[in-house]
C-alpha cells in the first residue's frame, strides 16, 4: 500500500487517482472529528469538505514527510468550532442558549446530554482523545495549543461530564 507521502507526491504531479485515494483513506475520520464537534451532519460536511479543499489548494506547500491526517483533522476541527460559534452568533439570543444535540441518536442518552452541555472546544478535545485515539501531545499539535492547555481542557471536560452524570444519578 502506498504511503501518504507517496500519494501526496503523486497528487502534486496531477494524479487524480492519488487524490481519490487520499480522500478515501482520510475522509471517514476527518468527518467524524467534525461531526463530534458540531453534532450536525450538515455542518460536519461543510467542515470536513473545507478541510479537504484547503488541503487540495495547499498540497504544493505541504511537507509530505509529515502525517497527513492530523493536518486534515486540524483544519476540520478548527473549522467545525468556528461554524458552531458562528451559528451561535447568527441565531437570536433566545435560541443561542439552546443546547447542542447530535443529529443522530446515540445509545448512551445520559452521556449524549452531558456532552451536549460542553462547549465545542472541550467536546473537540474529548472527541480527539476518546473517539479518534489521539494522545494529548498529538491533540496539542493538532489544535496548535500548549500541552498544558490541552491537559487542563481535557480534565475540565471530564470534570464537567462527571459532575453532570453524578447529578443525574442523585
Amino acid at each position: 500500500m502506498e504511503t501518504d507521502a507517496d500519494l501526496v507526491l503523486a497528487a502534486r504531479r496531477g494524479s487524480r487517482d492519488a487524490l481519490g485515494q487520499i480522500f478515501d483513506r482520510h475522509w471517514p475520520r476527518v468527518w467524524r472529528a467534525a461531526y463530534s464537534t458540531t453534532g450536525e451532519r450538515e455542518l460536519a460536511n461543510d467542515a470536513a469538505q473545507d478541510a479537504f479543499l484547503r488541503a487540495a489548494s495547499a498540497l504544493d506547500r505541504f511537507d509530505h514527510r509529515r502525517p497527513l491526517e492530523p493536518w486534515l483533522v486540524r483544519i476540520a476541527t478548527n473549522r467545525a468550532i468556528d461554524l458552531v460559534r458562528a451559528r451561535r452568533r447568527l441565531v437570536s439570543e433566545e435560541l443561542a442558549d439552546e443546547r447542542f444535540a447530535f443529529d443522530d441518536p446515540l445509545p448512551d442518552d445520559e452521556l449524549r446530554e452531558a456532552l451536549a452541555r460542553l462547549g465545542p472546544e472541550r467536546r473537540a478535545v474529548i472527541a480527539l482523545h476518546y473517539w479518534l485515539d489521539y494522545t494529548t501531545p498529538e491533540i496539542a499539535d493538532v489544535l496548535d495549543l500548549p500541552l498544558g492547555t490541552v491537559n487542563s481542557r481535557l480534565a475540565r471536560a471530564l470534570g464537567d461530564l462527571r459532575q453532570q452524570l453524578e447529578a443525574r444519578n442523585v
Partner: protein, 291 residues
C-alpha cells in the same frame, strides 16, 4: 466513576455515525476536481462567463443589468422581483442563465461536460405531464439518446421540461448533474410534513444557515442576522401561505421573520424578510419568500 465514564465515552465513540454515501461522493468529487489544475481558458470565455454570471444574478433578483456604453461595460444595480425561480440557483463551477421572461433556464458545467436546459410554462389541465415535487431527480428522467435525458413534469402550477445532456456518464458527472437538478427551483408547494414542538427553532437555524448563500443582495448584509419564528396558524402570514399552497401546507409551515441589522440602519422594510419554511421527507426547505 472516571474509569466508568471513560469506558462509556469510548463505547459512544464506537457508535458514532458515518457520513452519508451521497455526501461522501459529493465531497470526493469536489476534492478531486478542486485539486486538479484547471486548464487555461481563453479570455473571451472568461468574459462570457462574467456576462452569464451577471445574467444569473439578475434572474434571481440580486439584480444586475449590463449596459454597453462605448467600449466600457457598465453594471447597473436593478432590483428584480424574481428570487424563487423558475431557474437554477447559483453554484460554484456552474454557469447558469435564466431569461427575464422566466420561460427558460440553462445550467452548464464545462469541466464536467454537462448542460441542463429547462423550459417553463404555465401548466394547463389539458395534456398535463405527471406531477412531481422538488427536488427533481435524475433517476426519474427518461433516456432520449445516449447522451441526453428528459424530465417532463408538472410542479405546482408549472409545466417543467428539462433536458440533461452529459458528454460522458462518469460518476462525477452523474453526481454533479444530480446536485444541479436539486438546485432547480420553481415556485411550488412543498410536500410538507407535520410540525413538531421544536420545529420553529430548527427552522430558524436552518434558514439562517441557508440565507447567506441565497440572499439576493450583498451576502455581507446577512451578518449578525437574527430571526424569530411562528408555526402554522400562529404565523402572522398564515393566510398568505394558505393562499399559495392550501391550508394543509400552511399549517405545516414555519414562518421565519429575519432582521438584517446592517440594513436596519438604512431601511426598516428592507431589513425585514419573511420566509416560509417546511420540513419534507428530504429535509427542510425554504419554499417561498412572503411579500
Amino acid at each position: 466513576m472516571s474509569d466508568e465514564m471513560e469506558r462509556r465515552l469510548r463505547e459512544t465513540g464506537e457508535q458514532l455515525p458515518a457520513p452519508y454515501e451521497s455526501d461522501t461522493l459529493a465531497a470526493r468529487t469536489r476534492f478531486v476536481e478542486g485539486a486538479t489544475p484547471a486548464p487555461r481558458r481563453p479570455r473571451r470565455l472568461l468574459v462570457a462567463a462574467l456576462v452569464l454570471a451577471v445574467a444569473v444574478a439578475s434572474a434571481f433578483g440580486v439584480g444586475y443589468a449590463l449596459a454597453s456604453g462605448g467600449e466600457k461595460t457598465r453594471i447597473v444595480h436593478e432590483q428584480q422581483a424574481l428570487d424563487a425561480g423558475p431557474g437554477f440557483l447559483p453554484a460554484e463551477g456552474w454557469q447558469t442563465t435564466s431569461n427575464l421572461a422566466a420561460t427558460a433556464a440553462t445550467a452548464a458545467n464545462a469541466s464536467l461536460g454537462i448542460r441542463i436546459d429547462a423550459l417553463f410554462a404555465g401548466a394547463t389541465l389539458a395534456d398535463s405531464p405527471p406531477e412531481a415535487l422538488l427536488p427533481l431527480h435524475l433517476d426519474d428522467a427518461s433516456h432520449i439518446d445516449a447522451s441526453t435525458r428528459r424530465l417532463h413534469v408538472r410542479v405546482a402550477a408549472w409545466d417543467v421540461d428539462v433536458r440533461i445532456h452529459l458528454d460522458t456518464a462518469s460518476t462525477a458527472a452523474l453526481v454533479a448533474a444530480r446536485e444541479e437538478l436539486g438546485r432547480l427551483v420553481v415556485p411550488s408547494c412543498p410536500d410538507a410534513q407535520e410540525l413538531q414542538a421544536g420545529d420553529p427553532a430548527i427552522a430558524v437555524r436552518y434558514l439562517l444557515r441557508w440565507l447567506p448563500a441565497h440572499y439576493t443582495g450583498d451576502p455581507a448584509e446577512t451578518a449578525n442576522a437574527t430571526a424569530t419564528a411562528a408555526a402554522g396558524t400562529d404565523a402572522a402570514r398564515h393566510g398568505q401561505a394558505a393562499h399559495y399552497c392550501g391550508t394543509t401546507v400552511a399549517e405545516r409551515t414555519v414562518e421565519v421573520d429575519v432582521v438584517l441589522p446592517r440594513l436596519a440602519r438604512v431601511s426598516a422594510s428592507l431589513s425585514q424578510l419573511t420566509y416560509f419554511v417546511a420540513r419534507t421527507s428530504s429535509g427542510w426547505t425554504v419554499w417561498a419568500r412572503a411579500r
